[in-house]
Symmetry: C2
DNA sequence: TTGTAAGCGTTATCAT
DNA sequence: ATGATAACGCTTACAA
């Protein structure tokens, strides 16, 4: 076999030589150009030569010449949150099909700014930002990049979003429908559109039902399990303890559950808990978590498709969100952590 | 401000022009070459010019010239398993510090072969393979690549591994120490070193204690929650039902827990369950999962360091595992899902 | 110490 | 239909 693995890399030149054609001809044939006008017989020879030599195009070189890297950046808030790995999976698949590579960036390890910097240096053709606060990034950070936003609508950049206000509304209506009147919300302080809207939708639906969200019952904490634990602990010691709580995401909700268990508060007997996202974990806790399902994969896939399409359409720096795609619907998933409000609200437990 | 964002990209040439020096000089200064011999005053001018123009090096072009891409591939079995996202996080941090980018590949979405192909085309400087069965990949797939293996020791490639046999042994000893005699194991059928060794260590420790692993009590299923559910279901209907089971990883263990709950089998009362990995999820189920902790981040970090070092050392295709680093220690984490064996083994439950 | 020239592997624009 | 030739942006001898 004519493997020349340890020697020099095989280039178009080698292929050209073997096929007995000029080097650019090879490029024409192998560049899978749709309508490359080259004689069938020539093409045949080239292809065969390439195969025989085990030729692999050098994407780097191609990128340099075409002034495209065929690489995309994808920045997510935290890969340890399964929700985002789902978004990634959705995007990755689409993007791979189109021949792009993905530079995955975890904003919890390195700041978005630094990531953007790196991505720029690597000449990415575009960037998907998922809930990393694009607005707060400053215009310069995104200047000249092809950007698509996930879950942070903007006038400036196109993107896709889930129906976050709807999620909050659904949570509230579900709880209120169960007879709860003293509701609470926990979510992160970060200025992320998704969380803000979930909260807003929740509050609005409460208002619509004539209920108020006392400031004591609005807890700010990181959108993690630990944050959920902390927030729930704070809620549990309130003199007017809520009977139900909506958590900004499932991770927090699971933390809330843990805190209840630790405090001997029964769920959903004494406390109803509802999350948001519907990650796999939601079905792994006991009781299983009631939550509002957000289509993570779909979010990722759509964003990717949108970006890829834009790149193909040669809109190098196209401003403005095109057709402001309407939000992806979310759905209530009733499971075991929400139940009817007790006849009379439970008083704070004594210790023991 | 002299921002020329929408115009042509800023290149070394522009910087050279503004600084009034030749283009290679700029390259010399900005290429952060350790001992680049260039007049302090010149360097100063260049740096200032670069800053003023907002110059950003084009990593692609640099790669082409240096015949290096400063990109690494990282292939993991499944990003939905938090264990692997931890490995990724560990690697990512190290690698980012060294100025490399990571092309993340999920072997559950696309075959390792295709990933390798893509990575080759992108001229990655090296690849980290985590438990994707490098041995079974065939020599050609890895030929000419700089490879580091995680959790699959090989004569051919260097790598790092955890003490998988030790994990199995610890699990067995823990269970046996609690008085269990009828043990079971569940793990995937895939030919992955880690799982094989966990199993082997488990079985050996049983033998050492004069116990046998009946084939009925050796269940093969995917290393997922669903797999764990299926495997546990099968165990529960055995006439000689085990009193304790070691699960190949935590995901399976959680599945096992769910299956027990669904069947009304109390854990650890009627069944002890021990997992392996110690992912965050282990502390989120009730009762919390007893497991053997494997240092995921550390595995990723070490592999990355190993690879980066090799690349720096200019060992383009260095064969052979260097110092066959000894395995990273694992530790038993006793939590709530294991307990003493019941005085007399529980008979299979009737229905009701 | 600095500039000149050549080249990295491709693609693109011309003539032919 | 094909083949020279010139980029792409940067690095790296080697010459000045």
């Amino acid at each position: 076999m004519p493997r020349r693995s340890l020697t020099r890399r095989v280039t178009v030149r080698d292929v050209a030589a073997l096929a007995g054609v000029s080097q650019p001809t090879v490029s024409l044939v192998l560049g899978n150009h749709p309508r490359a006008r080259v004689a069938a017989e020539t093409r045949e020879r080239v292809v065969r030569a390439a195969e025989e030599l085990g030729y692999r195009p050098n994407v780097i070189a191609r990128g340099l010449a075409r002034r495209r890297s065929y690489a995309l950046g994808l920045i997510v808030p935290d890969l340890r949150n399964p929700f985002y790995t789902d978004v990634v999976a959705g995007a990755e698949r689409v993007v791979a099909q189109e021949g792009y590579a993905v530079l995955l960036c975890d904003a919890s390890e390195v700041t978005p700014h630094r990531h953007l910097e790196t991505l720029r240096e690597r000449q990415v053709d575009g960037v998907i930002l998922d809930a990393v606060g694009a607005a707060a990034l400053g215009d310069a950070a995104l200047e000249g990049l092809n950007v698509v936003l996930v879950d942070e609508p903007s006038e400036r950049w196109p993107g896709v979003a889930s129906d976050a206000p709807g999620a909050g509304r659904m949570a509230a209506e579900h709880l209120i429908g169960l007879g709860h009147r003293r509701l609470a919300y926990m979510g992160p302080a970060v200025d992320a559109w998704g969380f803000r809207m979930r909260e807003r939708g929740f509050v609005q639906a409460m208002r619509a039902a004539g209920l108020d969200l006392d400031s004591d019952r609005l807890r700010r904490a990181p959108a993690t399990v630990a944050g959920g634990i902390a927030a729930m602990r704070a809620l549990l010691v309130l003199s007017a303890r809520p009977t139900a709580v909506f958590c900004g995401n499932d991770l927090m909700a699971v933390g809330a559950l843990k805190a209840c268990a630790a405090a001997g508060v029964s769920v959903p007997g004494d406390m109803s808990v509802i999350g948001c996202d519907d990650i796999e974990l939601a079905t792994l806790v006991t009781p299983e978590l009631t939550t509002v399902a957000v289509p993570a994969r779909e979010l990722g896939a759509r964003a990717a498709r949108m970006l890829v399409r834009r790149l193909a359409g040669d809109a190098p720096d196209g401003r403005g969100a095109a057709a402001p795609a309407r939000p992806l619907p979310v759905t209530l998933v009733t499971r075991g952590t929400t139940g009817p409000a007790a006849a009379r609200p439970a008083a704070p437990h004594g210790e023991g």
